[in-house]
Subunit: 251 residues, 2 copies
DNA sequence: CGACCGCTTGAGAAACCTCAATCTGCGTGG
DNA sequence: CCACGCAGATTGAGGTTTCTCAAGCGGTCG
C-alpha cells in the first residue's frame, strides 16, 4: 500500500486550456478569473494508484485540484478500523480543510493514477483579497462537500445495507457520468473492501449485498471494479433523489 | 412537534456588545469587521423549543447565527427514518449551505428556546466583496462543519454502539463547555430519541447503551436530558482525540 | 384524574459480524 | 512454459449485535 511514488511536472497545461473547463458540469470562468487561477497554479503532480496524497496529521503547504483519476478520503481509528468519507474525482479541490484550518484530519489515497494541479497554501489569502467571486466559490465548494457528507451520514445511519450499497454506487455513477469519465472504461475502480469501508459494513456482508444488487441486474462486478447497469434503479432502490444538476465552480 | 412559534425583535444587541465575542473560544474581530457585521445583522428572532427553523426544500432569504440555545440539523428518508447530522449551539451560523447553494437540503429544529441573529442572504456577496477576512471566515466555518461531519461519519460507520454514544456525549459536552453553557443547568437538553437518531440506532438499544455508560459512572440521565460526569472518560472510551482548541471565527 | 411523553425492560427475530476455507485471475521467478 | 504466491471475491457456519414488538412505569400537565 501507500507507495509514495509521485512525479513533479514543471510543464503544465495552462488553465485556459484545461480539458475540464469545457464540461457543462462546471460553471464558466471569465478571463480574469482564469488568469488568476493560472497564476495560482504552480505545476502538476502525477501520483500512482495506491499512493497516499495526504496523511492524517500532516501540515501540507499545498492544495490540489484533481485533473484526472479517482481517489478517496478516509479516517481511521487507532486499532485500524477505516472509514471512507468521500471519493474525489476530476475537478475536486483537495486539502482545503487542511489549508484553512491547519492540520489535515483525514488521509487521501489514489484509487487510480491521478494527476493534480498544485497550488500554494500561502497564496490563498491573495485569492480572498483580490477575487471575491473565487472566494465565494471556495465557500461553495466547502458547502457542497458538507452537503454530500450530510447525505452519506443519512445513508450510513438510516439506510439498510442494500439501500446503502445502492446509494453509494448510484452516487459514484452520477458523479462520474457528469464528468464524462465513462468514455473509456465504464468501470468504477474500487474493491469491495472500499465499498465496505464506505458503508460501515464488513467485506463479507458487502459481498453478499452486492450480489443481491447484481442479481437484480442493477450492476455487475468484475476484476477491475464495478460497472453500473441501471443507475436510476439503484437510486430508486436507495430512495435517493440524486445530485443537483447546478453547474458548479472549480478552481 | 414543530410548533412554528417565532418572535421577531426589532431591538437588538449591537454586535460590539455581543456576549459571545468575549469568550476565549472565538477569535477577536477588529473594529471594522465588527461594524460590518453589525450592519449585516438585520434583527433578532426568538424561537420556541421544538420549532422548525429551516425545513428541507425551503429557499430561505435569511441566514442566522445562534445567539443562545440548542438545536440540531437533520435529514429524513421518505418513510420517516430520521438522521440527525449535527447539533447547533451559540456562535453557529445556520443556513449557509442554503444561502450559497440555493435550496436547503436539511431541516433545523430547536431543542431549547433559541435566539437568533438574522442576516440577509442577498447581502452575502457584499461581504465577499468588501471583507476578504470575513469571506475567509465563512470558508473556515464551512470547513469546520465538514471536519465535524467527517468525525461523525467515522463514528457511525466504524465505532460500536457504546463507543458511538460515548463519542456523541463527549462531543456535545466539549462544545458546550467551550461556550460556557454549563454555568446554569449543566444538562445537555436532548431526549434518548435524539441520541438514537444521531447514532443510527433504535431508541431501545440506545437506552440500553446509555445505561451501560451510566453504570460506568460516565454520565447520568434525568428528566431534562443528560449530565456528563466524566467527559474525558467518555472521549477515551470512544477513542476520540477531542476537538481542536483553535480559536474560531463567528459572524 | 386521565392522557401523554419519555424511559425502561423482556423476548424473539433479523441483520450483520467473525472465522475459515475455497476459488479465480494475474504477475513473478525459475 | 509452469509452479507459486498473492490479492480479491465468494461461500458457509455459527455467533453477536441490534432491531421490532409489546408491555409497564413514572412524572407532568391540563
Amino acid at each position: 500500500m501507500a507507495k509514495a511514488a509521485a512525479t513533479v511536472h514543471g510543464q503544465r497545461t495552462p488553465c485556459q486550456q484545461c480539458p475540464l473547463r469545457s464540461l457543462p458540469h462546471f460553471r464558466e470562468f471569465d478571463r480574469d478569473e482564469l488568469n488568476f487561477v493560472s497564476g495560482f497554479k504552480k505545476g502538476e503532480l502525477l501520483v500512482d494508484a495506491g499512493a497516499t496524497i495526504f496523511l492524517e496529521g500532516a501540515h501540507s503547504a499545498h492544495l490540489f485540484t484533481i485533473l484526472s483519476g479517482w481517489g478517496f478520503r478516509y479516517k481511521t481509528l487507532e486499532d485500524g478500523r477505516r472509514q471512507i468519507l468521500n471519493y474525489v474525482m476530476p475537478g475536486d479541490l483537495i486539502g482545503l480543510q487542511g489549508s484553512i484550518m491547519g492540520e489535515m484530519q483525514h488521509s487521501t489515497e489514489a484509487l487510480s493514477p491521478i494527476s493534480l494541479c498544485v497550488f500554494e497554501r500561502t497564496e490563498l489569502m491573495t485569492l480572498y483579497n483580490s477575487h471575491p467571486s473565487l472566494a465565494y466559490d471556495l465557500t461553495w465548494i466547502a458547502s457542497r462537500e458538507e452537503r454530500i457528507l450530510d447525505e452519506h451520514l443519512l445513508s450510513i445511519g438510516r439506510r439498510s445495507a442494500l439501500e446503502r450499497a445502492a446509494y453509494l454506487i448510484a452516487y459514484l455513477h452520477q458523479r462520474a457520468r457528469a464528468l464524462r469519465l465513462f468514455n473509456g472504461s465504464k468501470t468504477i475502480p474500487i474493491r469491495q473492501q472500499h465499498v465496505a469501508d464506505t458503508l460501515g459494513l464488513s467485506v463479507v456482508h458487502t459481498n453478499k449485498t452486492l450480489k443481491k444488487l447484481a442479481a437484480r441486474k442493477l450492476l455487475f462486478w468484475h476484476e477491475r471494479g464495478c460497472e453500473v447497469l441501471d443507475g436510476e434503479g439503484l437510486a430508486e432502490l436507495a430512495g435517493w433523489d440524486g445530485l443537483d444538476s447546478v453547474r458548479r465552480p472549480f478552481i
